[in-house]
């Protein structure tokens, strides 16, 4: 049965159902329970934003509150994964990756390859990404491109509650290290989510809106901005196709190419900074593989090349807007008008 729940609850449910199904699934992170070792209540927080609330009551000490030692506990999760457990490590904010990045990109990502195929690291690292929370520069980044760059890692970024549950279940069942990025501004987003468990395969983009005139590719929060832009452009009789990438590594370039071969126009939207972003990655690939289909230059709409500012007015200016996407779409149509 489907019912309407938020992405936050969908994520909680995914973890709960997988922990129930598979006794090897454990979770560790800072304050994922909250209250450990103290005299007050257990499950005092259930995660800094309450994502894991209620899980302790059902699964007890399979959830571990860790010291503030990302290197140690993310590394421990990795080590445990090579020993047959299926850990979920929570990196509270992806911005904290700096203090444990070696464990992620030099250890977990490379074991299988360096050890000649004789290792498996079935690990999930969940981390919050994205701006809009007024959390300022060190708590608001979209660092997905840094992870997609690393062979051996898989990188996921859902845009809605239905995808979040299915992709997280897939991530927990997957035998490779997965970085599961949760946009903090989408936790409240609601949609129909089945009560039962289901798994969405990686490497499959979702065409969330069909259209004939231009292809807009986005992920995470930007999918919603793109849909807003598409609605505005409807009034101008511009018909946009919006593709939600869902998984950034592996990435479903085929769906993007198929769409561009039909529309001839591409706008890549990405909350990350412009240099070496997911947007620039897709743009280059499409230019290489579908050049003949392009009727106009590819447009990119990304966050700017600066840290995320604190002041709300500046932060709102920082995040790519629906209007900016509309403008980019219209730039791809200028050639036609000029004719």
């Amino acid at each position: 049965m489907a019912r309407i729940i938020s992405m936050k609850l969908a994520i909680n449910e995914a973890i709960d159902q997988e922990m129930t199904r598979d006794p090897d699934v454990i979770m560790m992170g800072e304050d994922i329970v909250g209250g450990s070792g103290g005299d007050g209540e257990m499950d005092a927080w259930g995660g800094v934003l309450g994502l894991t609330k209620g899980l302790y009551a059902k699964h007890g000490d399979r959830l571990l509150d860790t010291p503030l030692s990302e290197s140690a506990y993310v590394g421990a999760a990795i080590g445990a994964a090579t020993c047959g457990l299926r850990p979920i490590a929570e990196l509270m904010f992806i911005d904290f990756m700096g203090v444990c990045f070696d464990q992620i990109f030099n250890q977990a990502a490379k074991f299988r390859y360096m050890f000649g195929g004789r290792a498996e690291t079935p690990l999930v690292i969940r981390a919050m990404v994205g701006a809009g929370f007024r959390a300022a520069a060190q708590h608001s980044q979209m660092l997905t491109p840094i992870f997609t760059h690393i062979p051996g890692l898989k990188v996921i970024c859902p845009s809605n509650a239905y995808d979040a549950k299915g992709l997280l279940i897939q991530a927990i069942r997957d035998n490779d290290p997965v970085i599961f990025c949760e946009h903090k501004n989408l936790y409240a987003h609601e949609c129909d989510v089945p009560v039962e468990s289901y798994a969405i395969p990686f490497g499959e983009a979702n065409v969330v809106r069909e259209g004939k005139d231009v292809t807009i590719v986005a992920y995470g929060l930007m999918v919603h901005r793109a849909l807003e832009a598409a609605k505005k452009l409807e009034a101008k009789r511009i018909d946009c196709e919006v593709i939600d990438l869902r998984t950034l590594s592996p990435i479903d370039l085929d769906t993007v190419l198929e769409s561009v071969r039909s529309t001839g126009r591409l706008v890549c939207v990405d909350e990350a900074h412009p240099r070496c972003s997911i947007a620039s990655d897709i743009s280059a690939s499409v230019a290489q593989q579908a050049f003949g289909s392009l009727k106009a230059a590819i447009q990119m709409v990304t966050g700017p090349h600066c840290p995320v500012p604190f002041s709300p007015s500046l932060e709102d200016f920082y995040i790519p807007s629906a209007d900016a996407i509309c403008a980019a779409v219209e730039r791809t149509l200028v050639l036609e008008v000029a004719e």
């Binding site: 290197s71 140690a72 421990a76 080590g79 445990a80 490379k110 050890f115 195929g117 898989k154």
Partner: protein, 327 residues
């Protein structure tokens, strides 16, 4: 019947010697072959430190987990990784333990609990905490050993892992192979506390300090700590003071050490010589038995080199294999 004052029987003594000798000859051979240009990349040789690997790993089984350092050949051999496969791996051949994909610094065999040599100093400590956590949850009595040098002891990962292991009471043994040099820099220059033991004590971890060239000291102390860790009393710390014979890496001229020191080390701190003399003195193992083992070991090393030289390189098709389980 000769009186055996040692905590190992005759066969165990011979086996321990065989392990140490295999490590020694493996490393000595690499030293020669590297200088000749036969070995690609970096190698970091363990010669001089054999007693540590052997003395500790004698107490472990395949269920226990061991994370090594960049100077990992000794640990791998002691843990039972196949010598032929190791040599082939160091030569970058397809028959290597990692199919030529890892090299000297990444030799691993998870089926034997060997979590790998590691090119990143201190990276093994968190991993071993995880392995120990898995053992503790399963209640299988397994322990995790993380080995690091006097230099890596100052890495943040080690310090965080010390705290994590202590806070969660994990069955981990932190082993510091203190050979006095963090690469080319003396430990005196880069370590704030006078001893590592006091640092570990400060983190709530008790331990011991032994002479790393004394096999029996290592064996007995490590055995006690491992036994206690299996019973849930961990974590523990073991510092082994030792000397490395060769440079930090092959090609290192070691000008940061005096010639006198290098000569003294070979003459007076050779764990194999010390072991042999102690054992033959009591008469538990005879000289000719040791000589027989020596010959077998030399044959093994020679055959592993021949096999490695003759083995095929990985094919270009292997380049993209095993990046993921599935993609």
């Amino acid at each position: 019947m000769t009186n055996n004052p040692f905590p190992l029987d005759h066969d165990q003594l011979v086996a321990s010697y065989r392990t140490m000798k295999t490590i020694r000859e493996f490393e000595e051979r690499l030293h020669v072959d590297f200088a000749r240009g036969d070995i690609p990349g970096f190698v970091h040789l363990y010669a001089g430190e054999e007693a540590i690997a052997t003395g500790i790993i004698a107490h472990l089984n395949d269920r226990d987990r061991f994370a090594s350092t960049h100077r990992g050949h000794g640990h791998c051999i002691a843990k039972g990784v196949d010598v032929h496969e190791m040599m082939a791996e160091i030569h970058g051949k397809a028959t290597g333990s990692c199919r030529g994909k890892g090299g000297s610094m990444h030799i691993a065999d998870l089926s034997k609990g060997m979590m790998g040599a590691n090119g990143i100093l201190g990276a093994g400590a968190p991993l071993v905490c995880g392995a120990a956590l898995a053992s503790k949850r399963r209640g299988d009595g397994g322990v995790g050993i993380t080995v690091f040098g006097d230099g890596a002891a100052n890495q943040g990962t080690i310090l965080e892992s010390m705290n994590l292991a202590a806070a969660w009471k994990l069955p981990v043994i932190f082993v510091c192979e203190n050979n006095g040099y963090a690469e080319a820099t003396s430990v005196k220059h880069v370590t704030g506390s006078a001893t590592y033991l006091e640092r570990f004590n400060g983190f709530g971890i008790s331990g011991a300090l032994v002479d790393g060239s004394d096999f029996f000291a290592v064996y007995e102390t490590a055995g006690e700590l491992i036994r206690r860790a299996r019973e849930g009393e961990g974590p523990f710390f073991l510092e082994c003071k030792v000397n490395r014979f060769f440079g930090h890496f092959e090609g290192d001229a070691q000008t940061y050490r005096t010639k006198a020191e290098l000569e003294d080390v070979r003459a007076n701190h050779d764990c194999l010589k010390i072991f042999k003399s102690r054992v033959t003195e009591v008469g538990v193992v005879r000289d000719d038995e040791f000589i027989a083992v020596d010959k077998e070991v030399m044959d093994l090393i020679e055959s592993s080199v021949q096999a490695a030289m003759a083995a095929p390189l990985p094919s270009p098709d292997d380049l993209l294999k095993d990046v993921y389980v599935s993609y």
